[in-house]
């Protein structure tokens, strides 16, 4: 039998490995990158070293920080639209078979058509900012719809009977049974949608950037590419992936906080 101290120690070591190892991997990667650049005398317009990228990030923060804000705003707007639209449409589908049969195939078509191909068209017909948000929405919308639908279909049929037995209204069934039952699935869908709306925003900005307009991070990448400012391309890329990580972690945290008291997925091994 393990004593409390021992198990605490084991857990502590496991945590140290889990968070320490990725850091070690990163350090080794950066070191190898730096060595390759230095030993081969690779010029910065081909491959900048990690130190130069970091310097650029600090030096160009004025431009890059502003662009980051623009991209994040687009991502956020697209995400909110996808979350609200996806959940609402799933509930609508759940309510009415007719609506579901009429619209579901087109939701799938929207999902399987590459957004890169749609973006230039949207840029023609919509004002630029709206087109970019629309792209983020298109990419992020489907996982929310699909997951919420799955959640609504997994409502316990006995509980449904119980609600019927006590004469629950549609509204009571929606708020007190369907929504909480579907909540873990909805949150799972939102976690995927967060990252996807960033991708959608970037794709649209690239498309807009090739038309010579825009101010988001992806536009900076395109623009820096034309100017052979490779260090800035790397710096912007770094910011984009950092944004993606933060979005994912933020949504995971929210999901954990909402579900921690009752859902299996949020329980640690201790219980």
């Amino acid at each position: 039998m393990q004593t409390r101290d021992e198990s605490g120690f084991v857990e502590c070591t496991a945590n140290l490995l889990r968070f320490g190892l990725p850091v070690v991997t990163l350090a080794i990667g950066l070191l190898v990158w730096d060595l390759i650049v230095r030993l081969n005398d690779i010029p910065p317009y081909q491959l900048p070293g990690p130190i130069l990228v970091f310097k650029t990030l600090v030096q160009d923060w004025q431009i890059l920080g502003g662009s980051l804000l623009v991209t994040l705003t687009t991502t956020f707007e697209g995400f909110i639209a996808a979350a609200v639209g996806g959940v609402a449409m799933a509930f609508l589908f759940n309510r009415s078979r007719l609506v579901e049969y009429s619209l579901y195939p087109y939701a799938i078509i929207l999902q399987v058509t590459p957004v890169v191909a749609i973006a230039p068209l949207l840029l023609i017909y919509l004002p630029q900012q709206l087109a970019v948000v629309a792209c983020a929405w298109i990419v992020a919308f489907f996982p929310v719809l699909a997951n919420t639908t799955l959640g609504l279909n997994s409502v316990d049929s006995n509980l449904k009977d119980l609600f019927a037995l006590y004469g629950a209204s549609n509204e009571q069934t929606l708020w007190q049974l369907k929504l909480p039952s579907a909540l873990p699935h909805i949150l799972g869908g939102l976690r995927i949608a967060g990252g996807l709306s960033l991708i959608g925003a970037v794709v649209a900005e690239i498309a807009a950037g090739s038309a010579g307009a825009g101010s988001g991070l992806a536009y900076r990448i395109a623009e820096s590419g034309y100017r052979l400012n490779i260090p800035r391309m790397f710096a912007a890329l770094l910011l984009l992936s950092a944004a993606g990580i933060v979005i994912f972690m933020g949504l995971s945290l929210i999901s954990h906080l909402v579900l921690r008291r009752w859902h299996e997925s949020a329980l640690g091994k201790e219980s």
Binding site: D156, N158, L159, D161, L162, F163, A164, L165, Y166, G167, A168, Q172, Q176, L177, P180, L183, R261, W262, H263, E264, L267, S271
Partner: protein
């Protein structure tokens, strides 16, 4: 000992010529004729798939008969059916709600404010021995405790009839015996009608006043037994010769019903 009418009080439920055929063409039940007296503890005993759960759902109004009539005593006919308590085979609790909120559910659906029914909920939790667990979430409870919550939820509206669909089938024997005794105690105190569906001969004989043996699908009444054991029944009844004799005759009847169908 075989009997078709073993109660003197007015009837709570009367099924006459009830059949149920599902949309997929499966003829699940009947024709079934069954009368359940007020305050009676009746067990419906049969093999899996004989339609005994369907019979319960018909009484609860969760499904309608294909042919025949389900008559309920006037007191049971209110809509919504607050006078009917239903206990499923699984505890069927809402995992996102505490024990208290799970028991509150029927009252909440009937739009009764929390403050108004808090006393009643405390009372019911007390009666199933879960007063200390009101603020706990279902995942923290054992299988037996979850079933007690489910029972408390069915009792909270003070129903006239309690419909139980193999409620203890998934529990271990020790827990099942204890809940059997608790249920008997409860029935002695409240004298509500209980319709108890089970596939256990021993459980049906131990608990009920009357055991209705059903045929395999489509379920019909094969035979009925009055269990005229003295009350209150306790653990000593489980090992008595009378209990063994009852179990043997019910068991034989169940075997005959199955053999006839096969």
């Amino acid at each position: 000992m075989q009997s078709s009418s073993g109660h003197s009080a007015g009837s709570a439920v009367r099924l006459s010529g009830v059949t149920k055929t599902f949309a997929n063409g499966v003829h699940a039940l009947g024709p079934l004729d069954l009368t359940i007296g007020q305050g009676e503890f009746v067990s419906l005993l049969g093999s899996s798939g004989c339609g005994k759960s369907t019979a319960l759902r018909l009484v609860a109004g969760l499904t309608v008969p294909t042919t025949g009539h389900v008559e309920l005593a006037a007191a049971l006919r209110s809509t919504p059916r607050r006078s009917i308590g239903f206990v499923f085979q699984e505890p069927t609790l809402m995992p996102w709600a505490t024990v208290w909120d799970n028991v509150y559910l029927p009252m909440r659906l009937l739009r009764r404010p929390r403050a108004e029914v808090a006393g009643r909920i405390g009372e019911v939790l007390e009666s199933v021995g879960l007063s200390d667990f009101a603020a706990v979430y279902p995942r923290e409870l054992s299988g037996g405790m979850k079933m007690r919550v489910s029972l408390a939820r069915a009792l909270v509206t003070d129903p006239d009839i309690l419909l139980m669909d193999e409620p203890f089938a998934a529990l271990d024997e020790i827990t099942r015996f204890r809940l059997n005794n608790d249920l008997l105690e409860l029935w002695r105190r409240l004298r509500r009608t209980i319709v108890f569906v089970t596939h256990s001969v021993f459980e049906s004989v131990y608990l009920s006043q009357r055991v209705v043996v059903m045929t395999p699908r489509p379920g019909r009444v094969a035979s009925e037994f009055l269990i005229d054991a003295p009350e209150p029944r306790g653990e000593e009844f489980r090992t008595s010769t009378a209990y063994v004799a009852h179990c043997r005759s019910v068991s034989d009847a169940l075997a005959r019903a199955s053999a006839k169908a096969a």
